[in-house]
Symmetry: C2
Subunit: 544 residues, 2 copies
Amino acid sequence: MARDNPIFNQFREHSVAEFFRKNRQMLGFSGKVRSLTTIVHEYVTNSLDACEEAGILPDIGIEIRVVNGDHCVVRASDNGPGIPQKLVGKALGMMLAGTKFHRYMQQRGQQGIGAAGCTMFALITTGTPVKVRTGTGTSKVYSCDLSIDVKTNKPKMLNEKMEEGEMRGLEIEGEFGEVKYDKGEYGPLAYLKRTAIANPHAQIKFKGPNDEEVLFPRASDAIPERPKEVLPHPLGLTTSDLVEMAHHSKDRKISSFLMNNFTRVSSGKIGELRGLLPDVNLNAKPRNLAWADAEKMIDAFSRLRWIAPATDSIRPIGEEQVKKALVNILNPEFMSVRERKPKVFRGGVPFVVETAITYGGNSGRHTQSGVSGDVIRFANRAPLLFDAGGCAITQAVKEMDWNRYGMKEFDSMPITVFVNFVSVHVPYTGAGKQAIANEEEIVGEIKLSVMECARELQSHLRGKVRAGEKEAKKKAIMRYVDQLAKDLVELSGTGDVERLKKKLVKLVEGKYKKKIEDATLEEIAGEAAAAQLEAENSKNEGES
Amino acid sequence: MARDNPIFNQFREHSVAEFFRKNRQMLGFSGKVRSLTTIVHEYVTNSLDACEEAGILPDIGIEIRVVNGDHCVVRASDNGPGIPQKLVGKALGMMLAGTKFHRYMQQRGQQGIGAAGCTMFALITTGTPVKVRTGTGTSKVYSCDLSIDVKTNKPKMLNEKMEEGEMRGLEIEGEFGEVKYDKGEYGPLAYLKRTAIANPHAQIKFKGPNDEEVLFPRASDAIPERPKEVLPHPLGLTTSDLVEMAHHSKDRKISSFLMNNFTRVSSGKIGELRGLLPDVNLNAKPRNLAWADAEKMIDAFSRLRWIAPATDSIRPIGEEQVKKALVNILNPEFMSVRERKPKVFRGGVPFVVETAITYGGNSGRHTQSGVSGDVIRFANRAPLLFDAGGCAITQAVKEMDWNRYGMKEFDSMPITVFVNFVSVHVPYTGAGKQAIANEEEIVGEIKLSVMECARELQSHLRGKVRAGEKEAKKKAIMRYVDQLAKDLVELSGTGDVERLKKKLVKLVEGKYKKKIEDATLEEIAGEAAAAQLEAENSKNEGES
């Protein structure tokens, strides 16, 4: 036997771009329809994030042209802050580079892969670079043709130009192959429609391959408050996080390191920590923090009482905005919207669940075979169209006992369940960012929130049933009115049948409108007799 | 407004290890039970791959000890070829490095992430390195403590030792946190049981936390033929593949580049290509191949007739082995196994689908609420336990019209559907390698294969129904035998009732066993009468 197996001559290192080139399905590039929607998704979420950071009301344009066969040109533009020249290459042509990955802040994107993934997809399906044009509000406009060196994961720039001009924003145009424009529920237009629901402050213009133009107008001129970048909460930390942050810290003592780098750590808390950890020296240098000590600290954190993490970092859409958007798009007969208090998962990562249920109108999923209950999912306001099966939101809705809310037939009802998961860190199941991992706390919280909405819808549906029953009862009573009027006139030998009938109808419709279900025919007859007496009296009075 | 938005001061680059550290759920490290199974999965598939490459019958050991709380020590050992000292670090402590990623060959692992992912998981959950010991069959044994520098994705080795000793194989022992040992269907033991089903040539020893020992013995001593590394087929290429390979080629002409690097490209085919592509110079240097020419070549490839890709690169388990394994584990009443011919997906990536259906015995999924139809999934013989919802195999089985096969009640029948997907490239949906992407050709082929099995099971079940009906008919006829025997004796005034009865029973059970459903009572009566006559005759003969 050879000293070393010859297989080891084949040992190689690979770049992350090579990995995703070979496993492009992990980025959402699988299937022609999904691939095109993924491109739109990456560009639009980048634009929305950039505008939000810069406090700009977003104006976003998406244009799609079919070139030939399965090639499309996609052009995305925004009025955001633009990208400085020196960062264009890395931001759009290098994977795992960007401003988002390491920040503790609510953002749609968070991985630094998306836009560079599109650049790579253009390269591997058409061999062409994407054209980039950007300005940061100065008098210079930078443009280039940008590609990616897959072997090394480095950007490649061609035809770089810096010209005079006024521009603020970013324009990207690329030709992509193995894509297909689709008008259905998984296509770009459906994606943008959902984006508009969750981002009423954005204006989105879409131009499709057949010259169709769709404008999603801004429903609200209020610039959403910028989500703040926050310090992590001690409860959200793992030992590994703590050790790594400590080892990179320039603070002189562990105590000051804790106070400077985490939220809710006061000098009082440091005192409590010292009490719990007599054998850990909190005056030692953080860069020397040992794993065992860090483990003790994490354990002590969990035994202290903490103020909950600050939630300024989290900006849900807001009840009013959600209502506006849902009315706009679904025009429902009934709607219940809930925004629950912030919770945490994995111990200390704050998140908020916003949910709504709509009923009637365009609610539900309408297909040729009829209507069915629908779930529309969002994470940090970005629509999730794919991978529904593996998503915490779908799981929560599925696991609910709809029967308990009188909606045994959920699957065939005109109901839409809306869920927006908002957090500084969304635990996506894959780099394609289309499903949220089934973390227990997340699934539980979504369930509770959807249940609250379901309860309200239940009351509404009960009301409808009661209204229906009321109507039936009224009709039944009305059938007696004719006879009753005649009988009463005959019995008393006085009065006018038509006049009495009108009076009885008014009685039934008026007095018993609100609580007709409690009234009985006898009562009605009694009232009718009283009315008759009254009529007689008044008549007698008139006659006298 | 500032020249550049201050957000860009936050621009950073990150390593792939950092990416997966933050998104560990993408590697299968989500949930305590799943995380432990993922560790076992990564080590076992690496061992099986290494043994297969080296032509060694695998002896694999997995030992799990619960340390405290949610920490476990996992020890994995094999008798494979071992790893040469200079590659240990990169093979086990660096992501996207290894022998597998770029090779066109059937393997369980294919990404160069798995084992390094485990090293990282040990680090981030317990702060400890993994202990590695390996020998390549020489008189030296190398050992070290290995960790990973997450910031740079580089291996860190401590306590390196080279000692005298005889050893061939690899031992890894690590302490992992945030894990839980579970005996259920998602735990390590269930994983190993399924591994044994699909790898009858492997011996696997398991030692669990409560000193339980389980041995999965080798069911076959035949070393499976080594899958061959093959050249890619022209039909499986994208333009991007072709351009990239050409640009890295040292061949002098495009024509020789094609013949040397792809399967089924003969000089005859080059001639045909020249005919189809008069304006592409096949004598040009491949390193200068332009995208447009490559596109034309890919188009021309699709118009030529090709011999199908070689399938020596693909090694299914084989019908006999599958049967042995299924009998062993499920002990079914009925079993149908199918291995269809190799097919291709994405134009030219060869794959084979092996399927089986078992019925009865331990088939199906047995829970407290009863039994239900079960699907057990494999890719290149590695069990897929998680993410069933998003897997092509599940989809294929779900989409089947079980009703057509008389199995409307599939969901509550003791049926197990076994599917092994075998290919040089498995299109996993995620880096956790637990589900196969829903490629149309793959789903279609799985369906066809499962349908063939289902048809056989249908015949079996029909047979059971018929056998049941036959039995009922026989019982009905038997009820007449008593009476018939008495009547006949009385009518003829001769013969012995008991003796005649026995004869009739024998008649019914014997002569009509095979086709009793075609027999009628009259026929039976006729035969009985004939038997009676015969009896009389023999009696008379005896008396005469």
